[in-house]
């Protein structure tokens, strides 16, 4: 397809004197899974919030599915969805009730069928009448992902969806997401501190450090550019070494 699903051009976000995101540009073609990597405070969540229209950029241009989140937020969000390990569904409602409400917000037809189908897909149909506050982290994550898929999103934003999951559940979630993308050609923007997630799931990686993208490419390309053998090693090196920005600057210039 000609137009990318997500296009970010020279986007900057300042909070007073602090620059959270500095002149970032990238684009994501339809159906691609892109991994946003970076240490805490690197600017990943700020970037995702700007893409969702929850935060206004200080400057630059964002285009999602051909629309501007500043002025067409509702139209974009009708076709997009979001899940984060740090955002919950109301704990005092049953799982089904929560999903029913969000299905209503997205204008989903045949809500019951859709909700039960997703709960079954994630293996949590038996929890539909349980109070959300009584779910384990793994169950809660899967229910949040059901919420994120209610409207068959064309673009899906996942902010550390496997944080606090045990390896078994994290593996199941990754496989389900990979399968979902395969079937639906959904564009996914994925942030994670779990390098296994990124290696297995993402077609491409954007490494964010100090609010800048310091590497952009497939995992093996990024690793060879930084002369590292694993993403985890690279992550630690970038997080600890201040001089990496110079190295990264060189690598960006080479592109």
């Amino acid at each position: 397809m000609s137009e990318p699903a997500v296009e970010v051009q020279n986007v900057k976000k300042n909070f007073g004197e602090f620059t959270a995101v500095a002149d970032v540009s990238f684009s994501v073609p339809h159906g691609q899974i892109i991994g946003l990597l970076g240490a805490n405070g690197a600017g990943k969540t700020t970037l995702i919030q700007m893409l969702l229209g929850l935060l206004s950029p200080t400057s630059g241009r964002i285009n999602i599915l051909g629309m501007d989140p500043e002025h067409q937020r509702v139209s974009i969000l009708q076709k997009a969805n979001f899940s984060s390990a740090y955002v919950s569904l109301p704990y005092n409602l049953k799982v089904y009730e929560n999903l029913d409400i969000f299905a209503g917000l997205y204008g989903v037809k045949k809500r019951r069928e859709k909700i039960e189908g997703l709960l079954e897909m994630f293996g949590v149909l038996h929890l539909k009448d349980r109070m959300t506050g009584r779910l384990s982290s793994g169950e809660s994550t899967r229910v949040n992902l059901c919420k994120a898929l209610l409207n068959d999103p064309e673009v899906l934003f996942l902010d550390e969806p496997t944080a606090s999951l045990d390896p078994d559940i994290a593996d199941k979630v990754r496989k389900l997401l990979a399968q979902y993308r395969q079937n639906n050609k959904t564009t996914i923007i994925y942030t994670s501190h779990n390098m296994r997630d990124v290696e297995e799931l993402c077609d491409r990686i954007l490494f964010v450090h100090g609010g800048k993208i310091i590497a952009d490419g497939q995992a093996h390309e990024v690793l060879s550019r930084f002369e590292q053998s694993s993403l985890e090693q690279l992550f630690i090196k970038i997080a600890r070494d201040g001089d990496v920005s110079m190295l990264a600057g060189e690598s960006r210039n080479e592109e």
């Binding site: 929850l54 935060l55 139209s75 740090y86 569904l89 409602l93 009730e97």
Partner: protein, 268 residues
Amino acid sequence: MKNDLISWHRVAALTRRYAYIYSRNGFRILDIAFWPIMDLLVWGWVSSYLLTREHELPQMVTFLIGAIILFNILYRAQQGITVSFLEDIWSRNLLNIFAAPVRASEFVASTYLVGLAQALVVLCVMATVAWLMYGFALTSVGWCLIPLFLNLLVMGWWLGLFTTALILRFGNQAEALAWAVPFLVQPLSAVFYPVSVLPPFIQPLSFALPSAHVFEGMRMILQKQAFPEEHLLYAAGLNLFYMIGAAFFFAHMFKQARKRGLLSKLVC
């Protein structure tokens, strides 16, 4: 033509959420009824005492009971909005809501409906208790009860919107305002006494509040059985003015929240 301001299916979905919350939690229902009944009992018994001296304080009993019932309408309408908003902060759900295709106007409309429902429940519960315990029939106010109710409801709405905007701007530290704001306006609203009791320099401030006109009107009705047309018109006009002001204030604060990243700070 498509309505770009509000999609009612989304308002319905948001409102259904509160219906689930309230139907699920008996303590929340208790909370709606408990405080108003406590108020009514305390003030009702004070009134009963005053009744023994009614020759000294004519009409006082009905004024007090009527006042406490009507003040609770304002309070509950305001609470319906602010506590609903806080509910989403406490449950870390606020970002889910605003990352869904929900306009701020739709979110506010759903909280208005919650405020309306709470105010109606409080009105019915308190009117029944007042009748059973003190023989006070709220219906003695007659059809005038409707404009009194509506004016207090609308004032509760804009006060709630204003309070929510402050919480949005100043974060969790401003949560206490959710409960404090109605009681900040209570002294100036002349709920339990006429505006003429207030110092002269405060009276214009008092009359700048729709609630002062409502309670003056209520006393006129109970005292003279006269329709307080002027007070009700003033109350409606002021409510319109403040409602528009609160809407602009909320829109501005929402824009600021998006600029400063306050929505996520409220949740995390």
